[in-house]
């Protein structure tokens, strides 16, 4: 179920809120099972055939965690993590690895076109975070309902944010509507939902119309003009931001409606003044996961500069692969690893850089590398690069209005979370949000609606 669909906004969400409120009021002990059932329904609505995978995944990981706690066998957790990665590999990376294997002379590996279950990357990482912390003695045991809800909680199951068990489990024990700030949370959740929807349908989707045709033309081998290439590069740069940060705002807002505070995922990343700063502000929960569960596990900064550089590059390359089963994603991740390594070396050498120049370097690097990420083939990316620097078709005309609006929103002003938490409960503010909500709802009714980019990851 898409957050930006009528079935979600007019049917699932009101029913879920009403049921949740009634249960919380009259049968609070049923609250978590009901939330879990609602979440499983939400997940299965897209394609019911994937729901068993999520359920089995929850059940098996929970049973292994229980077995580990009872027996203390250290091998169980690495086996479980490996099993999760194998499932992910089968569904997401089988053809990718088959293609790599087929590059070896004499090897012929078949393709299996299995549909990718939505959110599999996210719930796999959730399992890994819990199991790793369990093995390290940092995580306690949870019952099946709580663990299931941690994995499947509908605001975050499809595209995050990547939530640590320690950020959410204690909140499940609360009576959310008995809190003194319950009404405030609910109202701010509503505002976040509206802002997220507006970001998606007015900015993200608008920018998709700028970027998609150019990337399609590049993929089809058509010549691209300089204006079109910059339009595509900048268009996707801002599209991916508003698409994903809009989704995250909605997820955070929905979490608040059900009394749960989900972690922040964006902190004005396009205002970062270095690549390192960027990754602290962009998809923050993924960055933290990569840092804590890959980079540090690989040695981090504790084993000398060479290991650190290697760990950075490997972590970001794997992060790239996580985004998609394609070499373009791998190269994108690798480039960011190299960029971060250069950033580290620069810093360690004691050099400094004016902030504005740092921002320019960071933003240019991001715009140039995101082309490889989006293009889906190196040929298409190369065609865009050629055109950007004047070696494509003639023509400098570009659509820029939505890009300018997007840039203004991304570069100036607070994040949605900060803005929403500064606003007082004034009637005119509620009116402004209501009017925006009405327009957004009518916009959602249009024939062209785009899926969220991060659903494919």
């Amino acid at each position: 179920m898409l957050f930006n669909s009528f079935v979600f906004l007019f049917a699932f969400l009101p029913v879920a809120l009403l049921v949740h409120w009634l249960v919380d009021r009259f049968r609070p002990e049923w609250r978590l099972p009901v939330l879990l059932l609602l979440s499983l329904f939400f997940y299965g609505y897209w394609d019911w055939r994937f729901a068993p995978l999520l359920i089995v995944s929850i059940l098996v990981n929970w049973l292994i965690a229980r077995a580990f706690i009872r027996s203390g066998r250290d091998t169980l957790i690495p086996l479980a993590i490996a099993g999760n990665l194998v499932v992910l590999a089968i569904f997401k990376y089988f053809n990718f690895f088959a293609d790599l294997a087929n590059m070896i002379p004499g090897v012929s590996t078949p393709h299996y076109d299995i549909a990718l279950p939505l959110g599999i990357s996210f719930f796999t990482f959730h399992h890994i975070m819990y199991l790793t912390d369990l093995k390290a003695g940092r995580a306690p045991r949870f019952d099946l309902v709580r663990y299931g809800l941690y994995i499947a909680f509908f605001p975050q199951v499809l595209a995050g944010p990547l939530v640590r068990w320690s950020e959410i489990m204690h909140q499940f024990e609360e009576r959310p509507y008995a809190r003194p700030d319950a009404a405030e949370r609910f109202a701010r959740g509503l505002m976040l939902l509206v802002i997220g929807l507006a970001k998606k349908v007015f900015l993200g989707d608008q920018l998709a119309e700028y970027a998609n045709p150019v990337y399609q033309a590049a993929t089809a081998g058509h010549a691209i003009s300089m204006g079109e290439a910059w339009q595509a590069a900048l268009g996707f740069t801002f599209q991916v931001y508003f698409d994903f940060s809009g989704y995250t705002d909605m997820a955070l807002g929905l979490g608040l409606l059900f009394g749960i505070v989900l972690p922040q995922n964006f902190d004005s990343p396009y205002r970062a003044v270095s690549l390192q700063d960027f990754w602290r502000r962009w998809h923050m929960t993924l960055s933290r996961f990569l840092r804590d569960y890959l980079y540090i596990a690989m040695g981090g900064s504790r084993k000398g500069l060479a290991v650190q550089i290697g760990a950075l590059t490997a972590t970001m390359t794997l992060g790239g692969l996580w985004h998609g089963a394609g070499l373009t994603y791998v190269v994108w991740g690798f480039l960011h690893g190299v960029g971060l390594a250069a950033n580290t070396l620069w810093r360690k050498a004691g050099y400094s850089m004016p902030k504005i120049l740092g921002w320019f370097c960071m933003f240019s690097f991001f715009v140039l590398t995101i082309i490889v990420f989006r293009a889906q083939s190196f040929e298409a990316a190369w065609r865009i690069y050629q055109a950007m620097f004047g070696f494509g078709a003639e023509g400098a005309a570009m659509k820029w209005r939505a890009i300018a609006v997007g840039a203004a929103f991304a570069l100036i002003g607070p994040t949605a979370w900060t803005l929403v938490h500064k606003l007082p409960p004034r009637r005119w503010i509620a009116l402004a949000f209501a009017l925006l909500f009405v327009i957004v709802l009518f916009k959602i009714g249009d024939d062209v609606n785009y899926e969220f980019i991060y659903f494919q990851f």
Binding site: P180, D181, A183, R427, D446
Partner: protein, 349 residues
Amino acid sequence: MNSSTSSSEAPAEASGAAAWRRFSLFLVGVTLAGVLGILAAAYIIDPYDTGRSGLFERPGVRPQGPRTANASRGRDPAFDAAIFGNSQIQLLSPERLNKRTGFNFLQLAVPATGPKEHFTLVEWFLRHRKGPVKALVLDADETWCTSDPAMPNFRPFPFWLYSDSPLEYAKGLMRYDILEELPRRLGYVFGKNPERARPDGYWDYEPNYLNLGYDTRPEVRARLEKPYYASEPTFERDPKEGQRRFPVADRLKALADSLPPETALILVHPARYKSYLPPPGTEEDYQDRACKAAMKAAVAGHPRSAVVDWRIDRPENRNPDYFFDLSHYRQPIAMAIENDIAKALERLR
């Protein structure tokens, strides 16, 4: 997230909580009222002149695309015959046909549509006739040869606008276009001399193609000569003989059977440039022949029916000056097809 919890602040908290409750209720209430209010206004104002509300009636609509304008055109009582299809039949002129037949033709073609849209418009047109329908001309191009009973359409089409169900129509009104169209409709209804979309739906696409250089640019002209099916293998017999199914033919038969005997039903297979005709023996050729046969059989039961087939190899389809691209012909062919339609109608009188 901040929240104050000390007991001395309890009254302030309570009033703060009440203020936030009112905030949420107001936000949700105004949103619901706004949505329902706009939907109600849209239903009453009837932005596309569908006839569902008579309060803001004025014949016709402002100039706009045929997807939406055809709702108004299709219920115009002035017409007793109509043409349905996509851009492949768009160039047929109602005026010229009227002169030849004495009927009053309406052009309801919509670019980039297939059978699902065509039948929707046929039903809309028939539903709004009070007098007898003299002729229906249907463009049966390759999209009619689909084996998919759902007759998938590839471009958005406002099926809700032509729906029987008021609920589906009301649901369809919930789109951003409506917010833009409502004031335009009011401007059209209350304007002194508003510009009106052409009532008979005719649109001559020639100037557009000419502006784009389709008749002069060598690389565009060269595309015409590239055989579309050059790499297709040939077979002595249809490899799918007896297995081909054409759900559109079933739909067509149901329509033909439902028509009164006095209504002429003309099926047109629109012209194709020679490079786009499947060579004999290719699977596409067998498919084309089977499809045409199925369509012919579907209309055969109707006493006044005929098929006009221009999707064949004939001298006109070998003349590059008569085509912009492989499937978009120019006025000489449009007039020749009109001539064939008029002759068929003459025979059926």
